[in-house]
Symmetry: C2
Subunit: 200 residues, 2 copies
């Protein structure tokens, strides 16, 4: 028998499989990836820089969907940052279970670091004091990623057994706008940008 | 042999085991819980209302650590809401991997619904329009839970291969304050509260 012309293993297929495992189960392991791809665990390690290497491939994969052309220093910084936040939120809302994994391991992926470089350059250009730049970016990321998780939640998030035990909550839910998640994100983003403007 | 005096299974032990599995692996299954407790899967189902019931027990367990005395309508609403947000953040930062699970399944746990009732009552009492109440609470939760995930991240979150490929990021990281996560949370919370005040 000849060898298959399509290799069983490459970084793309390993990344795709890891992401599918996370979407299903909330986590991945290298032996699970190997099993799905019909390969030996050791062969997977031959293609990637360990488990941490796979995490960085996942970071690149998910971040590819973020439109970095939004971070254009020729546009007003607040419009640029808003557009980046919206695109960032949509990219991660497609894979909510990967968020805790990526948020709790250090960023090493070159293409993702380049995206931070663009965001930092935009804020420095806008006149933010250097010590404020990372807190501004991290605050925005926290609200973006919190909201990305919420985008993956059911629209009917509170199920009251009856309306008598929590009557104020029942009234507030009845009065809440359609698209609770988007309303909340816009509210948080507006507040964030207004406060960031006062820092200039 | 007599039966053991301590039952192998009860809701508390099932909840503790589910939370330990999530802390380790990012998810749980009923068979995994049964295996850890040396019981049959069917016996676990005898104690809880299915997998969803376990999720609600987890929600109650994690939310127990939130200090709800902060939601006291006799204090200024913004101070109350800030104190609640800080306590909420700390409670969930202890179990970051449970956040996606709880954020993407409907809230049914009575004691957690009571906590929302207190928050809604506080905001209605403060004068928020009824349609704004849930978006305000959800926006606050999104930034709290995004920041709780960030609290579980390493302090050195960006690892640059060298300082020449992303020089602006390198400068911003050098200038960033110690306790990036707390600075970012305070910034986001200040912005949120300032914007919420304008809604009154």
């Amino acid at each position: 028998m000849g060898r298959p012309r399509t290799p069983l293993l490459d970084r793309d297929r390993i990344t795709t499989t890891a992401l599918a495992l996370i979407d299903e189960k909330g986590d991945f392991s290298v032996p699970q990836i190997a099993k799905r791809l019909g390969a030996q665990t050791g062969s997977v390690y031959h293609h990637v820089d360990g488990r941490d290497g796979i995490v960085e491939l996942l970071r690149e994969r998910v971040s590819e969907a973020i439109d970095t052309s939004t971070l254009d220093p020729r546009h007003p910084w607040d419009a640029s940052l808003s557009a980046w936040a919206r695109s960032y939120r949509a990219a991660f809302a497609a894979h909510p279970k990967v968020i805790p994994l990526l948020m709790t391991s250090p960023v090493r992926a070159p293409r993702v670091l380049e995206q931070y470089e663009l965001a930092v350059t935009l804020l420095i250009g806008a006149g933010f004091a250097l010590p404020d730049v990372m807190p501004v970016i991290v605050a925005l990321e926290n609200l973006v990623l919190g909201s990305a998780l919420d985008l993956a939640a059911p629209e009917a998030m509170w199920e009251l057994p009856d309306e008598t035990s929590t009557p104020a909550l029942a009234r507030a839910l009845d009065a809440a706008p359609q698209g609770r998640t988007d309303s909340a994100f816009e509210l948080a983003l507006t507040g964030f940008l207004a406060h960031a403007r006062t820092m200039l």
